[in-house]
Symmetry: C2
């Protein structure tokens, strides 16, 4: 019974956490809700790195609602283990102890070596009941890109590809492959990405804006346009009047020339630009390089209802050195197209 109640409130905290998708990097999206006698006293989510954590926001919300006096004895649900090291915002574990909560229920364990379940001991010694691992799978899933970045020093890389049924990426006369519903879905993905990467060839051929436009959900007012990353073999070959260099977001464009090791760039994107979620929107040749280096974590493919489109295969050339097995997580009928999404193993 208590277990079901806990899961229900954790689902609520997860919904709050998702509101931070796309704005929290390099921090993770986290949600928290404070409950007493089945009533919400306060709730919050982490929104932007450097600002208050979800637990702090929920506590502040409880005070703002006039519920501060009810916190002693209340339960706080949070999707990620409360931090126990003082970062930019003060440790959440300390705040929980100070407010004399009765219970802390959390989902994922923090992979940071400074945390990793350390909160449990700190809280229990103060007589606070701790229930870790509630809705752990769902919480881990929401945090997997951040886990990956923390553990590898590189962003979680999602390859976004649009193909025909026969695996081609181009149509004659440059007709769009994707239907309008799929385009909106793609803009939603951009909304949740910290950076979007293309090759110089895509820049020259398509002159893309790579901005978030008309996604499925209204963007947070805190959302910046994603970084736009261009990898080119020849800087001088890029058209200086391309949108990426001239539009209002031109300061969000990064260019690298003659990259020998993609890992170096990925590491720099994470450590210097805080990119946790990187989306590849490049052509087949560059995608193949990322695949060959084993750097693609997630695959999002829209398949449009055509046969016999252009000669450009989504992954051109002979067998890859290692075939990737795809674990499907979503299959969506998106207008006339279908969308398949999952992880590459």
């Amino acid at each position: 019974m208590q277990e079901q109640v806990d899961q229900q409130w954790m689902q609520h905290a997860l919904q709050l956490a998702r509101l931070g998708l796309g704005t929290t990097s390099p921090n993770p999206p986290v949600g928290a809700v404070i409950v007493f006698n089945g009533q919400v006293l306060g709730e919050g989510f982490h929104e932007v790195a450097g600002e208050a954590h979800a637990e702090r926001r929920a506590i502040d919300d409880a005070y703002a609602r006039g519920n501060g006096h009810l916190l002693p004895g209340a339960t706080i649900y949070v999707t990620l283990e409360p931090c126990s090291s003082t970062g930019r915002t003060g440790a959440c574990t300390d705040a929980i102890i100070k407010e004399r909560f009765a219970r802390v229920v959390y989902g994922s364990t923090d992979p940071d070596m400074r945390h990793q379940g350390r909160a449990d001991a700190l809280l229990r010694v103060e007589g606070i009941e701790v229930c870790p691992g509630v809705c752990k799978d769902a919480c881990d899933r929401l945090l997997r890109s951040w886990f990956h970045a923390v553990q590898t020093g590189r962003p979680w890389v999602t390859a976004k590809v649009a193909t025909t049924l026969d695996g081609r990426m181009t149509r004659r006369q440059k007709f769009w492959l994707s239907g309008v519903d799929t385009l909106r879905y793609a803009h939603q993905l951009r909304l949740e990405s910290d950076a979007i990467l293309v090759g110089g060839n895509t820049l020259r051929t398509d002159d893309p804006a790579l901005t978030v436009r008309n996604p499925l959900q209204t963007p947070s007012p805190r959302k910046q346009q994603p970084w736009r990353v261009v990898l080119t073999t020849n800087l001088l070959s890029l058209p200086p009047m391309a949108k990426l260099f001239t539009d209002e977001h031109h300061k969000r464009t990064l260019v690298w020339e003659n990259v020998k090791d993609l890992r170096v760039i990925l590491n720099e994107l994470y450590t210097r630009y805080g990119v946790v979620n990187l989306m590849l929107e490049c052509g087949g040749r560059l995608l193949r390089r990322f695949l060959e280096d084993g750097l693609v974590n997630e695959w999002m493919q829209s398949i449009s209802p055509m046969v016999g489109a252009g000669p450009d295969s989504v992954v051109p050339g002979d067998f890859l050195p290692n075939e990737f097995i795809f674990q499907r997580e979503e299959l969506i009928e998106c207008g006339r197209d279908i969308i398949i999404r999952g992880i590459l193993g």
Copy 2:
């Protein structure tokens, strides 16, 4: 009210009709049910060309059940307009008049110029009420391959392709692309096909049996193995010990050498061998020829969860002269694979 009752019984007749899928060619699958006062007096479906039509089988069934005396005044539901020309089995319209049915409800109109609604007048003049076009779309859908064959003199051609996510048809070391569920689905398709076509290259490389094995439904005892059709550029290059030439069904193997016009072969398959449903299981080059000639009606693709498999594209080469737009009719999660099925426009 009557309309809903009619639709309900027509759905029943459609289920009966489907029992003939795979055995009736060159005739269409047709089902019939005779109803009086909400009770089934008799039912039947057409099973094998040259044998009784569905209406005849339903009437015989009514007599066998001791319901013959109730036929005058009863309603017969049949998925296709009753025939009015005497073929091998005597016109069904005559039989209906003879039994003094009160109503005839049918779905599709017979495209045969000798019929095309002619039954309506013949029946009405005898005082029999005629309701054409009930569940017409579903009946037409079941009959569309037969309509196509009657109208063009060629079989309905279904391209069955199995690809990876990146549109390739091969894996290293000849691992199967498709999962077990997809293989069973493919054998169900073979069960409903009158012939299966491959190129000489597939014969040499894979030595396939092209027989129906372990389909999703138990085959009718009247089902013969499908014709196995091989198109080759060089008869002498085919391995004489290949399964198609040596197994117990070797008399069901047809070989053509150096085919200049695919339409000629298709016409011969229909007119001489009664093939209404032809399935292509050939490689990309031969498939491309069928596409270029505009001869593919239906597309059934299983997509297996791999990226980076072999270099053989499902439709190799440059743009097709005409891109085909695919109208999706089914999207099935089939184990780890997905199956997309629809028609090419």
